[in-house]
Amino acid sequence: MIRAAWILAAKDLRLFFRDRTALLFAFLLPVAIVLAFGFIMSGVFGEQGSMGRVSLLLVDRDGREASTGLTDALERTGMVRLRLRPGGRPWTVEEARRQVEDGEAHHALVIEEGFAEALVSGELPPLRLIRDPGRAMEDRIVRAALLQAMMELTQGGLWVPVMRRSLADLGMDPEGIETVTRFLRGIQETLGAFLGARRAEGAAGGAEEAPGGGGSFLEGDFLALVPVEMEDHAPPDRPKEATFMLIHNIAGMGVMMLMFGLAAAGRTLLEERDQGTLRRLLLSRAPRESVLLGKFFSTFLTGLVQLAVVFVVGEMVFRVDLFRDPLTLGVLVLSTCLAVTAFGLLLGTWCRTTRQADGLGTLLILVMSALGGAWMPLGQFALPPAVELASKCTLTYWAVGGIESHLWNSQGLDHPVIQTAILVQLAFAVAASLLARSLFHRRFLSG
């Protein structure tokens, strides 16, 4: 029994290790996925390996030393990466607004005039956050960073003005607020003395001290206390129910599944060769190139139906007005289908066996999906240039990016972001189709 099982297993292993294609993909595929993911994750989550840094535009209207104190403290949180304009000059408020509206930036912090004075006088320091609402994950990170940085900057004293504002909002009269404030200041001083003593003790004992220790216990709902005025910018026609992750997943998963679907369609060229029908087609009265063109049509139409189903079902389930600009969505869908069709046919003509097409197809689709941001919304993180470049070299980047920019930022055909995405995809479609055609001639028509 066991002996027989071993004989059978040895046969399987022998066959498996002789099949170079199977071998290649059994080992290459996981390695490639691990590498691609490692590459992208190290880009997203940086060196510390804890939390991705969210990119944050900085507008400094106060321009004094206190501002530098805040930006240094923000960088020290490890949660955000401040983005200055190339050349180092700070952004203006107008520029920041435009960047947010265009989807180039998702959050911009404005340090208003009088920030330095407010810090000194113990008033609530004037800060404003220009943001794209609906990007919940980034929003929490930015506000946590801001809270932590402000606590550090004011050595924990921030909560007094925060409390004053909250009490005023609740309707307490100024006299009452002053009483409470005096009381709070007393607590603050006592606490400060106590913490100072602790800190000295710790330093003497060699214990480590986390930076900004005063504010680090504030989490969760305390984020709501971040002393910042919000200025939201969202395209007026984007429904309130739409969240970025929802739109991202519709675009990302839709494109990835499209690639799998059309890779399978392109593979039928090899299936037809194996089952002998391809020769029959080539020997008919039909022009020989029409065989490839026919595959192009059927693959393309399959893709259109597939994406249409994704969007129609997505709309029925989530009701986020995906079809508010059908022309732009239509052109994006067409160009994506053209590009992915060409990809599928290239796979079918490049590979020599169906197994090879399956393996290589899976490999390319998963790697491109990881790098191109079909899974992780890469746009919200500050990526190193090499990672960003690798990302832009994938078809997925442009396919997902185009649909996402349209549905999230409401960019239409007149917007350069959409135009670029369409042009890149069409260029790929043309180049890959021509290559597939020449491979078709070489591999299928000569003999």
């Binding site: 029908t277 029959r280 080539l282 020997l283 008919s284 009265r285 039909a286």
Partner: protein, 248 residues
């Protein structure tokens, strides 16, 4: 002559599979290519059909140069019945015939008539709407032939159409080919079964290791082998010192 093949040569890479094959097919004639497995029958057929384009030698159709791989008009004169089944298993028998008929330029009532006729002749009419996947091997073989003959070509190339077929279907296929013959259609038929060649073919070319080693009617071949009563099996043994069923 309908078809003349003169010094046909074809190599798969380095390996010469057909090395100087010459024969002729007259109008209305059934010509058999008889030879063991690996003799070069299929390769010869594929050169004629237009699958391969890199052959050497000469092929003429009614005296004119014949280049089926390059010219659609030339390919359309031929029907091809491949040795391996070449069908869409996911389509019904009728759908298969309709599809290939359209590719051959048939449409409308001409297409419908051709399909009905083909289904009737092949004895497949009552299962025509079922997917081919559910058919028996013999039925698939008959459909394979019906597709090749659908556009009623001037010459039908039949590459071992009875391989792996049960005796009943085999008889059916034979009757079908006999009908073609009686209609006066020309047929080029390959087989490694000498009874088939003897029964069906007007003339036979014996092919061995890529060469035609003898050609003529069964009677002529027997006489050439020195025994007027010899059958093709004995002729082959006489010529090669081997049996037909030996692997080539």
């Amino acid at each position: 002559m309908l078809l003349e093949v003169d010094g046909l040569r074809y190599a798969y890479g380095e390996r010469l599979a057909v090395q100087g094959v010459s024969f002729e097919v007259a109008p209305g004639e059934v010509f058999g290519l008889l030879g063991p497995n690996g003799a070069g029958k299929t390769t010869t057929i594929l050169c004629l059909a237009g699958v391969f384009r890199r052959w050497e030698g000469e092929i003429r159709w009614e005296g004119e140069p014949f280049r089926p791989a390059e010219r659609v008009g030339d390919r359309a004169r031929l029907g091809w019945v491949p040795q391996e089944l070449a069908l869409y298993e996911g389509l019904s028998g009728r759908e298969n015939l309709e599809f290939f008929g359209r590719l051959q330029g048939l449409r409308g009532t001409a297409l419908a008539e051709a399909v009905d006729r083909a289904l009737g002749l092949a004895g497949l009419a009552d299962r025509a709407r079922d997917r081919v996947r559910s058919w028996s091997g013999g039925m698939k073989r008959r459909l394979n032939i019906a597709i090749g003959d659908l556009h009623r070509p001037g010459l039908l190339l039949c590459d071992e159409p009875t391989v792996g077929v049960d005796p009943q279907s085999r008889n059916h296929i034979f009757d079908r080919l006999q009908t073609l013959k009686n209609e006066g259609r020309a047929l080029l038929y390959t087989t490694h079964y000498m009874e088939e060649a003897q029964r069906l073919c007007d003339r036979v070319g014996i092919i061995h290791e890529g060469r035609i080693i003898a050609c003529g009617t069964a009677r002529e071949l027997a006489a050439a082998a020195g025994d007027p009563d010899a059958d093709l099996e004995q002729v082959f043994l006489h010529l090669t010192g081997r049996h037909l069923r030996d692997e080539g």
